[in-house]
C-alpha cells in the first residue's frame, strides 16, 4: 500500500518541512537566534503529526493511506510480538474451526432441508430403527399402514442393504461408464414425497408392461445423456440386463428419500424379479422387504402416528421424521435424530467458543497492558484517544479477518478429510452433503468479530486518558485494583468454562472405559463369529438342482467346520449366531408374542434363538443356575427367568415358543442378547436345534461361534477357509466379539469422541489463557515482591505469596463453576442414563 500512497505522503511531509524552514528563516531574518527561531517556528506550527493526520484524514485516499499505515503498524507489531499474534490466531482458528466442523456435521445430519415437499409431514415407519433390516414391510404390510387412516399416502422402497444385498439392482447404462445406484420403489413413491418430476411418476402398469422397462432417472444422469431434458424423456436406454425407457426425470438436488442416498435410477418394484436374475414366477413382488414412507394425513402429527401405531403391534413400533433417517442402498438405516446429543453438542460447542473468547480477552488484555507506555507516549505526542481506539480496533479487525480466514481454511480441510473417516456409529460421512454454505462463513466471521469486539470493547472502555497517562510513570504491567479484579474474574470464568467442558469430556471418556470393560456375558477377547450365505435366498432353484446344491454345500460346510477346528489356537466351534446382532434385536422388538409355559399362554417379548450343541461352552457364557443343556433343552437368560417365573426357580419348567413342542428349561445364563446398549434382555436358547445341514437346508446361511486364543490373528485364516469353501457365496463375514461390541456401542463412542475432542480443545485454550494471565499477574506484582524481600520477608514467605497470587484467581473458578454446573446436569443425566443401561 505504501507505494500507492507514498508520493502523496512524502509531498505533505515536504510541504510541512518547507513551511517550518521558511518560518524559521523569517524569524532569523527578523533577528532571532537560530535556536530560538527553530523552537518558536515549531511551537507556532503546532503538532506536526496532528496536522499531517488531519490533512490525510480529510480525503478518501488519505483515509486509505492511513489504513495502509495502520496495516503496516499491525504487521510490524506482529513481527515484534509474534507470540501474541500467533497465539490469538491459534485460539481463534481452533475455537472457531472446531465449531464450524461441528456445525457442518449438525447441518448435514439435521438442518439441511430435505429435497421433498413439506418434509415435516413425511415419516419413515419401521419396526425398529436399531435393527439393520428392521424397517422391512411386505406389500400387504404397506396396505395395512394405508388402512390406518393416519397417512395420506404410503410408499415403499425395497430394502437392499445387509441381508438383502442380493436384491440390489445391478443396472448399467452403456452411455455412462461409472457405477450407478438404483432403487426399487412403489408407484406412489414420488407422489408421497411430493417430488415434481419432468415426465410422470410410475403407474401400476409400469411393472406389468413388457420391455423396455420404465425408469425414472436423476438430474445427474439426465445431464450426461445427449439432448435436453425434453429429448431424454421417452428415450430408450441401452442397459444391462434389460433396456430401459425414461418416463421421468427427478429435479436437481433429489437423490433419494433418505439422507445419505445417491440414487441415479428408480425402477418399479414389480420389475425386481427380472433384474435380480431369479425365477420371476417363484418370487412374487408382494413379499419383497420394503422400507415404508408415509405422508401424514392432515391433522395427524408424528406423535399421533407413533402412539396410534404402538397400539397396533402387528404393524409397527417406530415412526421417525424423514429428516432424521440416514440410509443408502448399501448401508443399514440409522436414525440420526437425537435432540439430546444435538443440544449437548451445541452447548459444549458454545462453551468452547466462550472459552476461546475468554482466552482472547486474556491475551489482548495482557498485550495492550504491556504496550501501555507506548500508548502513553503517543498520547503525550498529541495522538487523540479516538485515534488510538481506532488503531486498536483496526488491529483487532485485521486479527479477526485473518482468524476467520484461517478458521474457514482449517474447517474446510477437516470437512474434506471427514468423508475418509469411518465413524464408529457406522455412519458413512462420504454419503453426507458436507459442503459448507454461507451460514458457515457468516458464523465464522461473527464468532471472530464478536470475540475480538468483546475483548476490544473492554479495553477501549478501560483506556481513559488518565489511565493511559499512568503508563509514562508506571511499569509496563500495571497493577491497579480494577485490572487485577478484571484479570481474576477472567481466569475464574475461564476455569469454570473449562471445568464444565472437561466434565462432559470426562463423561465421554468414562463411557468409552465402561464400554470397553462392560460384560456382555461371553468371552469378548476370545470369540469370533463367522457367517456364510451359501446361496442367494431370493433366487429360488428348481427342486432337483436345489437338492444337489444343498447336498454339496452341506458337505463343504461340514468340511470347513472341521478345518476351522483344526486351526492352531481354536478351542471350540459351535453352530449359532452372534448374540449381539440386529437380527436378535429385531426379534426382541417385534412386539410381545404368545409363549406357552406351565402357567398357560403368556404374552412376553423375548428372543427365541436356535443354537447348536456346545454353543454356550464356545461362548464361554457363565451359568447362573443349572447346566448348559443338551439337544432339545432350553437355557434362558436371567431377565427371562425373572419375567416368566418371578421369585421361582425356572429350572425344570416347560417352555415353548407357541408352535414347537414344550421344552424343558435346564439352565439360566447371564448373557447379553440383541444389544448391550439396552438392559439385559429376555431370551431363550434352544440347544442342538442348529446344525450345519439344518442351516444349509433352511436359509442357506451358516453361522458359527468360534472360541480361539487369538481371534484377531485367526480372522484372515478363517475368512480364507470360508471363501475357498464357498467361492460363489454372496456373503462371507467374520467378526471378532470385540468388533461386535464396537459396532454395538458405536453411537455412544461417536458422542464420546466428540466430547473428548471438545474437552481437549477447551483444555488447550484454558492452559493458554490461564498461563498467560497468571504469569502476567505475578509479573505485575514483581516490584511488590522485591520490596517485601528488601523489607526483610523470607524467601519462603515471598514464594508462598507468589504461589497464592497464581492460585487465588483459579480457585474462584470452581465457585462460579457450581453455577454453570446446573447447565451441565442435563448432559450428565443423559450420559449416565446411557451408562446405566450399559452396566445393567
Amino acid at each position: 500500500m505504501r507505494w500507492l500512497f507514498g508520493r502523496r505522503d512524502r509531498d505533505l511531509d515536504d510541504e510541512i518541512r518547507t513551511h517550518l524552514a521558511m518560518a524559521e528563516r523569517d524569524r532569523i531574518d527578523r533577528g532571532e537566534d537560530p535556536g530560538a527561531a527553530r523552537a518558536h517556528a515549531r511551537r507556532e506550527f503546532g503538532n506536526i503529526l496532528h496536522v499531517a493526520e488531519a490533512t490525510r484524514a480529510d480525503h478518501l485516499l488519505g483515509r486509505l493511506s492511513m489504513a495502509a499505515h495502520d496495516l503496516g503498524a499491525v504487521v510490524r507489531a506482529g513481527l515484534r510480538h509474534p507470540a501474541f499474534f500467533l497465539s490469538c490466531l491459534g485460539v481463534l482458528t481452533l475455537a472457531v474451526s472446531l465449531n464450524l466442523v461441528v456445525f457442518g456435521l449438525v447441518n448435514a445430519l439435521w438442518l439441511k432441508p430435505m429435497p421433498v415437499a413439506d418434509p415435516d409431514r413425511v415419516v419413515v415407519i419401521a419396526r425398529d430403527f436399531e435393527a439393520s433390516d428392521g424397517s422391512r414391510f411386505s406389500e400387504s404390510g404397506l396396505d395395512m399402514l394405508r388402512r390406518t387412516g393416519l397417512f395420506a399416502g404410503v410408499a415403499g422402497q425395497a430394502v437392499t442393504s445387509g441381508d438383502f444385498a442380493e436384491l440390489r439392482p445391478r443396472v448399467s447404462l452403456s452411455a455412462i461408464q461409472e457405477p450407478l445406484e438404483a432403487a426399487w420403489v412403489t408407484p406412489e413413491f414420488f407422489t408421497v414425497l411430493g417430488i415434481r418430476l419432468d415426465g410422470r411418476p410410475f403407474t401400476r402398469d409400469d411393472g406389468l408392461a413388457d420391455l423396455p422397462g420404465a425408469v425414472i432417472i436423476s438430474d445427474r444422469v439426465a445431464r450426461t445423456l445427449p439432448g435436453d431434458r425434453g429429448d431424454v424423456l421417452g428415450l430408450v436406454l441401452e442397459a444391462e440386463p434389460i433396456a430401459l425407457k425414461v418416463v421421468g426425470i427427478a429435479p436437481l438436488g433429489f437423490h433419494g428419500a433418505r439422507r445419505g442416498e445417491r440414487t441415479d435410477l428408480w425402477l418399479p418394484h414389480k420389475w425386481l424379479p427380472r433384474l435380480t436374475g431369479g425365477d420371476r414366477s417363484t418370487l412374487p413382488s408382494a413379499i419383497l422387504p420394503m422400507l415404508a414412507i408415509g405422508r401424514l394425513s392432515p391433522g395427524v402429527s408424528v406423535d399421533d402416528a407413533r402412539s396410534a401405531l404402538t397400539q397396533n403391534p402387528k404393524v409397527s413400533r417406530a415412526v421417525a421424521p424423514l429428516s432424521e433417517v440416514f440410509g443408502a442402498a448399501d448401508l443399514p438405516m440409522i436414525r440420526v435424530g437425537s435432540v439430546d446429543v444435538l443440544a449437548i453438542a451445541t452447548l459444549i460447542g458454545a462453551c468452547v467458543l466462550a472459552g476461546g473468547c475468554a482466552t482472547l480477552v486474556a491475551l489482548i488484555l495482557v498485550y495492550y497492558e504491556r504496550r501501555g507506555r507506548e500508548f502513553a507516549v503517543r498520547i503525550a505526542l498529541g495522538a487523540t484517544r479516538v485515534r488510538l481506539a481506532m488503531q486498536l480496533a483496526f488491529e483487532l479487525v485485521v486479527l479477526a479477518g485473518t482468524g476467520a480466514a484461517a478458521a474457514l481454511w482449517l474447517s474446510w480441510l477437516v470437512i474434506n478429510m471427514l468423508p475418509h473417516v469411518r465413524l464408529p456409529s457406522g455412519l458413512d460421512l462420504n454419503r453426507l452433503d458436507l459442503t459448507p454454505d454461507w451460514r458457515g462463513a457468516l458464523a465464522a466471521a461473527l464468532c471472530c468479530v464478536t470475540s475480538l469486539g468483546l475483548a476490544g470493547a473492554v479495553l477501549i472502555a478501560r483506556a481513559t486518558r488518565s489511565r493511559i497517562g499512568v503508563g509514562l510513570i508506571a511499569p509496563a504491567a500495571t497493577n491497579t485494583r480494577s485490572s487485577v479484579r478484571y484479570r481474576s474474574a477472567l481466569i475464574g470464568t475461564h476455569v469454570a468454562i473449562t471445568g464444565l467442558v472437561l466434565v462432559a469430556a470426562a463423561l465421554g471418556v468414562q463411557s468409552i472405559v465402561r464400554a470397553s470393560t462392560i460384560s456382555a456375558g461371553f468371552e469378548t477377547e476370545r470369540l469370533l463369529f463367522a457367517t456364510v450365505q451359501t446361496r442367494y435366498r431370493w433366487r429360488p432353484l428348481d427342486e432337483p438342482a436345489r437338492e444337489a446344491r444343498v447336498a454339496r454345500d452341506i458337505a463343504r460346510g461340514l468340511k470347513v467346520v472341521e478345518q476351522i477346528r483344526g486351526l492352531a489356537g481354536v478351542r471350540a466351534v459351535a453352530p449359532g449366531p452372534a448374540p449381539l446382532a440386529p437380527e436378535q434385536q429385531l426379534r426382541l422388538s417385534t412386539g410381545p408374542r404368545t409363549y406357552k409355559t406351565d402357567g398357560g399362554p403368556q404374552n412376553v417379548s423375548f428372543a427365541w434363538l436356535a443354537v447348536g450343541d456346545g454353543y454356550l461352552e464356545a461362548l464361554g457364557a457363565s451359568l447362573l443356575a443349572g447346566r448348559s443343556g443338551r439337544r432339545g433343552e432350553v437355557v434362558i437368560t436371567a431377565a427371562l427367568a425373572r419375567s416368566l417365573w418371578p421369585g421361582e426357580t425356572p429350572l425344570g419348567k416347560p417352555l415353548s415358543d407357541g408352535s414347537a413342542p414344550m421344552k424343558t428349561v435346564v439352565g439360566v445364563v447371564d448373557l447379553a442378547v440383541g444389544s448391550v446398549r439396552h438392559r439385559r434382555q429376555p431370551a431363550a436358547l434352544v440347544l442342538g436345534e442348529l446344525t450345519v445341514p439344518s442351516m444349509v437346508g433352511g436359509s442357506g446361511r451358516i453361522t458359527l461361534a468360534i472360541n480361539a486364543e487369538n481371534p484377531t490373528g485367526l480372522k484372515p485364516s478363517i475368512e480364507r477357509l470360508l471363501s475357498s469353501a464357498f467361492p460363489d457365496a454372496p456373503l462371507v463375514d467374520v467378526i471378532t466379539a470385540r468388533g461386535l461390541l464396537d459396532a454395538d456401542l458405536g453411537q455412544e463412542r461417536l458422542a464420546a469422541w466428540m466430547f473428548t475432542g471438545f474437552g481437549l480443545v477447551a483444555l488447550i485454550l484454558a492452559i493458554g489463557s490461564v498461563f498467560t494471565l497468571v504469569v502476567h499477574l505475578v509479573e505485575s506484582r514483581w516490584q511488590e515482591f522485591a520490596v517485601r524481600l528488601a523489607l526483610g520477608a523470607s524467601k519462603g514467605q515471598v514464594a508462598s505469596a507468589v504461589v497464592w497470587a497464581m492460585v487465588k484467581p483459579a480457585l474462584l473458578g470452581p465457585v462460579r463453576k457450581q453455577v454453570l454446573d446446573v447447565a451441565a446436569r442435563r448432559g450428565e443425566s443423559y450420559s449416565s442414563t446411557r451408562h446405566e443401561t450399559c452396566v445393567e
Binding site: D11, T18, A21
Partner: protein, 117 residues
C-alpha cells in the same frame, strides 16, 4: 476548553476558504506565504492555525478551486505553490458576494438606521 475550541472552528468554518481564495487572487503562494499574507492583511488579527490551513488547502485542491505545483523559490527552495483556478475565481466571486451580503446584514442589525422623525 472544548467549548472554546468548537467556537473557533465555527468561526473559521467557511471563512477560511474565502480567505485562502482571496489571498491566492493576488497571486500564487505556498502554504507559509498564505498564512503570512492573511496575518499581514488582517493586521495580525487573524492567525491561521496550520492544523486548519493544510486540510483546507488540500480540500480546495480536491474541489478543483485551486491547483498546486512544486516550484523552486527565490531562495532556491523547493516549495509547493498554490494558484487559483478559473473555477476558484468564480467561487471566490460568489463567496465574496455572499460575505458582503452577510456583512451588510450584520452591520444593519448592529447599527440600525434611526427612524426619521
Amino acid at each position: 476548553m472544548k467549548a472554546r475550541y468548537q467556537t473557533r472552528i465555527e468561526l473559521l468554518q467557511g471563512t477560511l476558504d474565502l480567505l485562502v481564495l482571496q489571498t491566492l487572487q493576488w497571486g500564487p503562494r505556498h502554504g507559509y506565504g498564505i498564512t503570512q499574507a492573511i496575518r499581514a492583511n488582517s493586521g495580525d488579527v487573524l492567525q491561521v492555525e496550520t492544523g486548519s490551513l493544510y486540510p483546507a488547502l488540500h480540500r480546495l485542491e480536491r474541489q478543483g478551486l485551486i491547483a498546486a505545483a512544486w516550484k523552486t523559490s527565490e531562495s532556491n527552495q523547493r516549495v509547493r505553490e498554490y494558484r487559483l483556478t478559473p473555477r476558484g475565481k468564480r467561487e471566490l466571486a460568489s463567496s465574496r458576494s455572499r460575505w458582503e451580503q452577510l456583512q451588510a446584514a450584520i452591520a444593519g442589525v448592529l447599527n440600525p438606521a434611526k427612524p426619521r422623525a
